[in-house]
């Protein structure tokens, strides 16, 4: 027990800090950043189940995010249903969609799998943006704010805790994956599918399970995000940009690690929020410059810390312990 605590002290410290911040800080702008850091971190952790642990690099996870966002938004606006019901329906639809895409692209490896996921999310984008009668098309869908926990109409402080619960839950799933039979065998599939099969591992089935679970987890966050932001735009929720963000946070933070996606999200989300505020806007004329910095950070990380921020942290920690000893 103490060994487990010690191994995860970095993550536990991080989540504890996140839990304490709203007690002292009431600045809406700061709390908003914290909610987004936790949500984007959780989304990357969800992506990591397929992309990092199973080696199924998807650039189409926005599909599941969009399904979650639209399920709750449509149920809420058209049938006045609770977003929790919408979340559940989104999860069921994403399980189905994840299962189908996992099954269909089962034989595809590497970049071919990635391309098929992009195609899938683009199909959903077209459906959502063209089916005006149902989805309101490209105008997007406003999500009405109805105060209360049952309707997820919450203030910033409550949102921090909702996002924190999801973040800790997803992080725990990753920790479980690293220690469980399923996780070990999945790592085998990721490293070499043929060799895994020779050891009696049903590689294809494990890959479908991983992507289906990853899809459902992504969908939950899609619902939360839509309720938090209050507006669903098909060109955003189904965008490749969004899929890339899920992947990049995990890659920068550390592929196939429990804490990595959250470290990546802390760096990227805060950097983006800061740069957007500081450099873009009409008066500065630097609209979009944050994208350049974003790219630069990615290049630097991949060049100098290919194992990601969590690997870097582990290395520094080991060096410190050695010099202390």
């Amino acid at each position: 027990m103490t060994a487990t605590l010690a191994r995860h002290r970095g993550a536990l410290l991080l989540f504890a800090v996140a839990a304490l911040i709203p007690i002292g800080v009431r600045d809406a702008y700061f709390l908003d950043s914290l909610v987004l850091i936790l949500l984007w971190g959780a989304l990357s952790a969800a992506w990591n189940v397929a992309g990092g642990y199973a080696g199924q690099v998807s650039i189409g996870h926005a599909a599941f995010f969009g399904i979650g966002a639209y399920s709750a938004a449509l149920l809420g606006t058209r049938w006045q249903q609770s977003p929790w019901l919408g979340m559940l329906i989104g999860v069921l639809l994403s399980l189905g969609a994840g299962g189908i895409i996992g099954y269909l692209s089962n034989r595809l490896r590497g970049p071919y799998f990635t391309l098929s996921t992009i195609a899938f999310s683009q199909v959903l984008l077209i459906v959502a943006s063209r089916w005006r009668a149902f989805t309101a098309g490209s105008e997007g869908l406003p999500v009405p704010f109805r105060p209360g926990f049952a309707t997820l109409g919450l203030g910033h402080v409550a949102w921090v805790y909702v996002a924190l619960v999801v973040a800790v839950l997803y992080w725990s799933i990753a920790v479980w994956l690293e220690r469980s039979r399923f996780g070990y065998r999945l790592a085998g599939v990721r490293e070499d599918e043929d060799a895994a099969q020779a050891l009696g591992i049903p590689a294809r089935r494990l890959k479908v399970i991983a992507i289906t679970a990853s899809a459902a987890l992504t969908s939950v966050c899609g619902t939360l995000w839509a309720q938090y932001v209050g507006f669903v735009d098909p060109f955003y929720v189904f965008s490749i940009d969004l899929s890339v963000r899920f992947a990049l946070n995990a890659i920068i933070g550390g592929l196939g690690t429990a804490l990595g996606p959250f470290l990546g999200s802390i760096l990227i989300t805060s950097l983006e929020t800061y740069l957007r505020a500081a450099l873009s806007g009409v008066k500065s004329g630097f609209t979009g410059i944050y994208l350049i910095v974003y790219g630069l950070v990615l290049i630097l990380v991949v060049r100098f810390v290919p194992e990601g921020l969590s690997g870097l942290a582990a290395r520094l920690w080991a060096r410190r312990s050695r010099s202390a000893a």
Partner: protein
């Protein structure tokens, strides 16, 4: 006189084609429990293809494969392995980013549900294979000889009843070769049934009880090592006159 035990593995008329090329043609053979069967043949003779067919990686166009009384023809590779028929790869396929221990543990988890038991199994197998000092090392960082041993260790951890070894001795220096031969002998002595593909005739002569010779996908000879090395067809197709003179 008791009847001979039923074969653990039997192939009947197995044929595998790739388009116009017949890689394995009408091969029949039997392996009894406790056998150590060698398969030899020139490059491209269809040895590895035969392994791929037996282990479920390729579905044969014709013929039947029966393992332990059960028809496994066309069964997927993971199901074949689960039944106790495990193969290694000629071009080793370690889980490169994982430690040696984790590699072997993944094999052990085929029979174990608890990771703790699997780790204990893996440590035992690692010891048998002489990989003990390398257990925490990344598989990718090992030299070839150790990666070949890891390939064997990982397969052994699945507790197979029949182990197919595909050129686990190729590329080893004489010391490493000796260690590998000792390992295979020890496994065989403990009751494991093996089929071994190998080019190194000297090793094969020391190991195999029976040898099957493949040429252009066909089985052209089968017998004890002595019978095989004096078979005219084997000498012409594979060994060459120098081998006969050197042996003499």
């Amino acid at each position: 006189m008791s009847a001979p035990p039923p074969p653990l593995l039997s192939l009947a008329g197995v044929t595998k084609r790739f388009g116009g090329l017949t890689a394995v043609r009408d091969v029949s053979l039997e392996v009894r429990p406790g056998d150590l069967l060698g398969i030899i043949g020139p490059n491209g003779a269809g040895k590895t293809t035969l392994f791929n067919v037996i282990a479920g990686y390729f579905r044969p166009e014709e013929g039947r494969i029966v393992f332990d009384g059960r028809d496994i023809t066309g069964l997927p590779a993971h199901a074949v392995s689960r039944l106790g028929l495990t193969r290694t790869f000629q071009i080793v396929k370690p889980f490169g980013n994982l430690s040696v221990l984790d590699n072997v543990m993944i094999g052990a988890l085929t029979r174990r549900t608890s990771t703790r038991e699997a780790r204990a199994d893996a440590e035992r197998v690692i010891g048998i294979c002489g990989l003990g000092p390398h257990a925490p090392a990344r598989a990718r960082a090992l030299p070839l000889a150790l990666r070949k041993r890891l390939e064997v260790a990982r397969a052994l951890a699945t507790q197979p009843r029949l182990l197919l070894l595909d050129e686990v001795m190729a590329g080893l220096n004489p010391t490493e070769l000796g260690a590998m031969i000792d390992l295979i002998r020890r496994l065989h002595a403990e009751g494991l049934t093996l089929i071994v593909i190998e080019h190194i005739m000297a090793a094969m002569m020391r190991l195999a009880q029976r040898i099957v010779m493949l040429h252009h996908g066909e089985k052209i000879a089968e017998g004890t090592p002595q019978e095989i090395t004096s078979d005219r067809r084997v000498i012409d197709a594979y060994l060459g006159e120098e081998f006969v003179l050197a042996e003499a």
